[in-house]
Amino acid sequence: MKEEIIIAGFGGQGVLSMGKILAYSGVMQDMEVSWMPSYGPEMRGGTANVTVILSDDRISSPILHEYDTAIILNQQSLNKFEKEIKPGGILLYDGNGIQNHPTRKDIRIYRIDAAAEAAKMQSAKTFNMIVLGAYLKVQPIVKMENVLKGLKSSLPERHHHLIPLNEKAINRGEEIVYEVK
């Protein structure tokens, strides 16, 4: 089992931390993992992306040119990464601010309106966990118990009181994601 994922959006959306939680969840499930950020002078509002690989075997390259799954959180990233999804792969995107929607016919496309849902939950910071929930629904590669363990390991202790809220957000994401036909 191997899953090669790109998560891309604006800096400040929680792209890197979502990747980190996913990677930690893989560790909790005894998988090999790699987390490779597009580090740079990025800041809130700039672009950010991270490549996460979860695998049962030793991981070769942490840098990829095509992905099993792309989790896309803004228009620029959609433009860039839609074409880099393997045929039969998954595109999961947040509809907020998207003018030009995905067009490929040889991949499975899912939409999650996480920004709108986070606003409803009155916590913008749950945005990335709603997206993570949506991802885990369409690609249940790690068990929920391991995701919760992963959350615990990746969050500093002073934030542990937020875990129930994050769990709620993950569940909400699982509920509201839908396939675009």
Partner: protein, 361 residues
């Protein structure tokens, strides 16, 4: 007890330094390696092991603090990225001349000049051909994973004390910034002066002059005959290093027609390229030098007897390819493929380069 953690390559260096009993770290922040000192400061090892962690006023100051610490027989290290390591070259040349051990970590970024903060491998020549002035070499290790970032700190100190010569861990922004699982080694206590003398000899300036001859740490002598002899001694050490310390990894080389030669993050990319090439029916293999000095010359010569061609893949304009060519010495064609200025090649690009150089037309 061994622990399994998820961390960045830079963080792994810091944890490994504390655990292998380093006496002092002196550094100056620079992207993409600032997490090394950040992690050390967070861990506060001075409270537990007594390890000194100090932010110097510059890279020049860092390497000279390392020079001083090493002269006292201590396990000392610094880390930086390309422009900072350029500033350290004078100190490294002096330390090689004075035969002092130390570890320098270079998490390479694109150059020349202040360059970019993105990953590159364009400091190969600087690391393996000396870098500073004079006939000297740095023992150079090239980690290709977060695990190796951790493991090579201890190894670099072992080699550097064994040969009394500075050792370099030549990494890059990819390995420094990526997170992987890592198994940290158990804590080793810092060595006492008596233990260092027992293991590595009585050469350091430890201040005890009553029962032995004065130890002098210097790289200067105006006596040319002495200096020639001293240089021969250094060269003999490098030769011994070439005999005994070559380390490399081979992946699917046994039946390979085409050998990719790559180190560090490029080796990871090439490993995937080998998988893709094999799926397409191209018999590719990967020779990954782990020590860049000493270079796996003999192994490349051996592979040149059975392979049709070699492609050196580096994030540089073509540096290691010169050593590959010298090793193979014309027996088979050797070409270079690389991206420069902070761009990372993809595995697909490497396969395309392999085909365009050797297979199609």
């Amino acid at each position: 007890m061994k622990e399994l953690k998820l961390m960045k390559g830079n963080e792994a260096i810091a944890h490994a330094a504390i655990r292998c009993g380093v006496d002092g770290y002196f550094g100056y922040p620079i992207t993409p390696q600032s997490e090394i000192m950040e992690t050390l400061m967070e861990e506060q090892p001075w409270l537990d092991t007594g390890m000194v962690v100090l932010q110097a006023e510059s890279e020049t100051a860092s390497i000279n603090m390392v020079y001083g610490g090493a002269g006292c027989g201590k396990k000392v290290m610094t880390s930086s990225s390309s422009p900072g390591v350029s500033l350290m070259q004078e100190g490294l040349s002096y330390m090689a001349g004075a035969e002092l051990p130390c570890v320098v970590v270079n998490v390479v970024r694109g150059g020349p000049g202040l360059g970019t903060i993105q990953p590159a491998q364009s400091d190969y020549f600087q690391s393996v051909k000396g870098g500073g002035h004079g006939d000297y070499k740095l023992i150079t290790l090239a980690p290709a994973s977060v695990q190796e970032m951790a493991d090579f700190v201890d190894l670099a100190f072992e080699l550097s004390f064994k040969y009394r010569n500075p050792a370099m861990i030549l990494s890059d922004g990819v390995i420094g910034q990526m997170m992987e699982k890592v198994e940290l080694q158990p804590f080793k206590p810092r060595m006492t002066e008596e233990e260092i003398v027992a293991k590595y000899g009585d050469w350091a300036t430890t201040g005890r002059t009553s029962n032995r001859k004065r130890n002098v740490i210097t790289s200067v002598s105006l006596d040319s005959e002495y200096m020639e002899e001293h240089n021969h001694k250094l060269q003999a050490k490098y030769k011994a290093c070439e005999e005994d310390e070559v380390r490399y990894e081979e992946i699917m080389c046994e039946d390979a027609d085409y050998i990719l030669v790559a180190y560090g993050s490029s080796a990871r990319i090439c490993q995937k390229a080998v998988e893709i090439a094999r799926e397409q029916g191209i018999k590719a293999g990967l020779l990954r030098p782990i020590t860049l000095f000493p270079f796996p010359t003999k192994q490349l010569q051996k592979l040149a007897q059975s392979a049709k061609a070699m492609l050196s893949v580096e994030m540089s304009a073509g540096q290691m390819v010169e050593d590959v060519k010298l090793s193979v010495n014309g027996a088979i064609p050797v070409e270079h493929y690389g991206r420069i200025g902070g761009i990372i090649p993809s595995p697909g690009e490497v396969v395309d380069a392999l085909k365009s150089n050797f297979i199609q037309g």
